[in-house]
Symmetry: C2
DNA sequence: TAAAAAATATTACGATTATCATATTTTATA
DNA sequence: TATAAAATATGATAATCGTAATATTTTTTA
């Protein structure tokens, strides 16, 4: 019994080493395809919601047919987790990039104006994943909620770093409420059918956020 | 032109009176059933999303079988509009009621604490419809977006009425950003899987909202 | 209580979807 | 270039869902 377990264990190690080594040379195409699918999915879920896209839709958007999907992911659900995670990462990169182009004392203003710009409000599929999927996330799997939670924390940190008293506990607390206002404003501005109301909410939130330091 | 408008006005009154009178005698049961279905749907969509409930689910929740549905609504979509509208109305009534029980100078605090209470955060299906369905609403039909827009406006008015300078334009502007923060905070608090983070966001938003008058 | 009308239930259809087995094509190795 | 292996495509299955036609039950009227 013992011996058979040991033997099995050695076999598994062999297989794993074999796979790891192979990755350096070939497998190149499969990885690229995998990422293409995740990218397509990260846009699709922000445009249509977690429930609003079929496996076939996403594969078509990635230029593939639906059947090959399960060579890349164990399930639709596993792909959604990767897509949500990537969507969050990409948006944080855009925001971090925008603040890096201005002097430190203007960086919070720049960040808020970028986030609440008409361009961001109107481009759901490449925008903030929490703004696009916020209310749906509470009903998703533990895995999805977990990756979204990570991105929320990263976003709060990014905002805190742009405040005057960065490092103090107040900065973090302040950043939490700023992020809440940013996401709420984006969500409402997209939801309502009255452009004047949408505009008024954006302007009011921007003013309030910039007034209170 | 004038006359035709007056005439039209009278006709509408007539029709309304006729309907109102009929209500007292027959049609009683059907209307009650209709409302029971709408109530079930208003809870179901807040719990599972616009796309997360089938006609059969809702009918079962209302104690009926799915086939009779089309005797009450021309389509699933038409029912969603009624459900979203009712959900918004009901929540506004709860909030208006909560502020009516305290003296005017405490009413904004009371409203915010009610909205951001653990009890509201944990009871999605009876809570704020925009908090529950905010990000999904931008992808819904014009009719749904329109009723949600009405409710947003009503909520902004309700908040504005609790501020010190109610009546001045600043009050309305201030109310817009308060509502954005309220909804963003609720959305994030429900989405994340880390109770400490959820709690920290709620506390930070409450503090910020109450500090700035 | 019998007939008419209204409300609800049963059953079915066509469309969509996640998943998977198998076939074909493309790429890598010898 | 021929063969092995990897990547992708084709086609099928079972489940779910909105809708609707028809049947049954309940309520109202005479």
């Amino acid at each position: 019994m013992m011996w058979r377990f040991k033997h099995l264990s050695i076999m598994i190690i062999d297989i794993k080493l074999g796979e790891t080594m192979k990755k350096t040379k070939p497998n190149h195409k499969k990885e690229a395809t995998h990422e293409r699918i995740v990218l397509a999915a990260s846009k699709a879920i922000r445009r249509n919601g977690y429930d609003g896209v079929s496996v076939a839709d996403i594969m078509k958007e990635a230029g593939l047919t639906h059947g090959g999907f399960y060579a890349h992911f164990p399930s639709r659900e596993a792909m959604l987790v990767e897509a949500a995670s990537k969507a969050g990462t990409d948006v944080l990169a855009v925001l971090a990039d925008s603040v890096s182009s201005v002097p430190p004392q203007e960086s919070l203003t720049k960040l808020l104006e970028t986030y609440l710009s008409p361009s961001h409000i109107n481009s759901c599929e490449t925008g903030c994943v929490i703004g696009a999927l916020g209310s749906e996330t509470s009903r998703q799997s533990d895995d999805i909620r977990h990756v979204i939670t990570q991105r929320v924390k990263e976003m709060v940190d990014l905002v805190a770093r742009q405040t005057d008293d960065w490092g103090k506990p107040e900065a973090h607390e302040r950043a939490l409420s700023i992020v809440a206002t940013m996401i709420g404003t984006l969500t409402i501005a997209r939801a309502v059918d009255d452009p004047k109301l949408a505009d008024a909410i954006v302007k009011a939130s921007l003013k309030s956020l910039l007034e209170n330091k």
